[in-house]
């Protein structure tokens, strides 16, 4: 199944979230946007969390490092890390081509709705990116 970027939710800090499932058993798949990856450029390192770690909205769940700088990545949602895309840090070059399918980083089982109302839809996020250029 291919994700549709226009259906994703976005944090102001450039993470995207795809929330699936029924209420009570919802899972958010999380990554960072193509815009952020292009801005970072020349990625060299990525640190992802362990399965089982709990995250809160705005809490750092990992970091991504380019030739020039280190950038923290923040969880857009609250919950527990269910799955980690552990092959991704060894294939960072593929992140450029497909940030929202191959480029998923973690899956989080939601513990509440906390943080979700802070997220933007695709249109609002694109507007933010255009303004920051």
């Amino acid at each position: 199944m291919t994700r549709d970027e226009s259906k994703l939710l976005y944090a102001a800090t450039h993470e995207w979230a795809a929330i699936e499932g029924e209420s009570g058993d919802r899972v958010a798949t999380i990554g960072i946007s193509g815009f952020a990856i292009e801005q970072l450029n020349d990625l060299v390192y990525m640190d992802l969390p362990e399965v089982g770690r709990s995250v809160a909205p705005g809490e750092e769940f990992g970091e991504v490092e380019s030739v020039k700088a280190v950038s923290p990545m923040y969880s857009p949602v609250a919950g527990e890390v269910l799955e980690v895309h552990s092959e991704l840090p060894d294939q960072l070059e593929k992140l450029n081509d497909d940030p929202i399918n191959f480029g998923w980083m973690i899956k989080v089982r939601l513990s509440s709705d906390e943080g979700i109302d802070q997220l933007m839809d695709h249109e609002a996020y694109q507007k933010q990116c255009a303004e920051s250029q």
């Binding site: 450029n41 020349d42 060299v44 390192y45 640190d47 490092e65 030739v67 020039k68 280190v70 840090p89």
Partner: protein, 372 residues
């Protein structure tokens, strides 16, 4: 929104080429045009053009110039023949480094001789006032800041010299390493200097600001079939790091003396008087307390400036001054100051933001161009 940022005479070219511009030492300069790694590799394998107009260019004219420079610098300027270029430090009286500079002795076509000093952009104003404060003792010396009136372009890489050979009246391949001359490019005056900051062969050009776009374009055209690219500050930093060249604010500052920084070769201490000389002689006698070393952190995660260096037992013995991925080696590299009695340890550790990685020492530089 360029809030008082100065612009390079090549600003328009950079923007049209799609460069990502960043504020640097009061200038709006290109960080990269495409990818830092691609620009780095182009410089190592072909050649790259760098706009380094933000660097300060200060001219010394008149009787006593050599004596003034001798008073300011860790190496002798008097007796330098016309055409010579010298790397030296400007120190405070404690031996701390105010800046690292290049001084050239030049002669205009009309026979007028002068000295030109190229200083770091971040230290430009500080050095100008430092120099001006000494002028009372050297009343016949005129110091003029040439930075705004000129542009500076570095052309660096293994194919640089061959490709630009016919662009100037004076064939640059006849210029030896660390030599400079005044020539012209289609009647536009050019200071041509066989120097650089990448570890590659090449030249640095100083031209009039109004001529800069034409000269830049002409070098680009001459290099087109050789695959020349424009490169930004990002690649300039990774290139100089591989070549283990110090950068002010990293390996050098007002607390670090040149001997500790591993720049003994740039200090002539015998039979000389200059600002900081007695402090440096004392450090030379007792030996520096710290030493600059090269490290190869294990894994892919780069250690950056400020990361703590530990000995094998986990005790703090130093700090990383510059670090990042090395595109040429394909792994992270780091330079660090460690206490002198640990400088020859066979293994180190680095604390990278809370995670400790092993790091093996390696001789500097990390990269040396193949000898030709």
């Amino acid at each position: 929104m360029s809030n008082q940022l100065a612009q390079s005479p090549l600003d328009r070219w950079h923007r049209e080429a799609g460069a990502r511009m960043v504020p640097f030492a009061g200038y709006d300069m290109p960080l990269q045009y495409s990818s830092i790694v691609a620009e780095h590799e182009a410089c190592r394998t072909r050649a790259a053009l760098f706009d380094v107009s933000h660097m300060g260019r200060i001219r010394f004219d008149g009787e006593g110039s050599e004596q003034l420079l001798d008073h300011l610098l860790t190496r002798r300027v008097s007796g330098m023949p016309v055409g010579a270029v010298r790397y030296a430090l400007i120190c405070n009286s404690d031996g701390g480094v105010l800046d690292d500079v290049l001084v050239s002795h030049l002669e205009t076509p009309s026979g007028q001789r002068y000295h030109l000093m190229v200083v770091n952009a971040s230290n430009h104003k500080k050095i100008l006032s430092w120099v001006t404060a000494q002028l009372d003792d050297f009343p016949k010396v005129t110091v003029s800041d040439r930075t705004q009136l000129t542009a500076m372009i570095a052309v660096q890489g293994p194919l640089a010299m061959a490709a630009i050979g016919r662009l100037f009246r004076f064939d640059p391949t006849r210029l030896q390493y660390y030599r400079a001359t005044i020539t012209d490019q289609f009647s536009k005056p050019v200071i041509l200097s066989r120097t650089g900051y990448t570890g590659e062969d090449g030249v640095e050009l100083i031209v009039r600001a109004e001529d800069a776009p034409r000269v830049w374009e002409n070098v680009m055209l001459a290099g087109r079939e050789h695959g020349f690219v424009a490169a930004g500050l990002g690649a300039r930093d990774t290139l100089r790091m591989e070549a283990a060249m110090p950068l002010y604010g990293h390996e050098l500052d007002e607390i670090i003396d040149p001997l500790t920084a591993g720049l003994r070769f740039a200090c002539t201490l015998k039979d000389r008087a200059f600002i900081g000389d007695s402090a440096l002689r004392e450090i030379d006698r007792s030996g520096p307390a710290k030493k600059r070393i090269g490290l190869l952190p294990e894994g892919k995660r780069p250690a950056r400036q400020g990361c703590e260096v530990l000995d094998v037992n986990g005790d703090s013995i130093g700090v990383v001054t510059s670090g990042g991925p090395s595109p040429t080696l394909g792994k992270p590299i780091a330079m660090a100051f460690v206490s002198a009695h640990h400088a020859d340890d066979s293994e180190f550790k680095i604390d990278i933001r809370g995670k400790t990685v092993r790091a093996m020492p390696t001789p500097l530089p990390f990269y040396q161009r193949p000898s030709t």
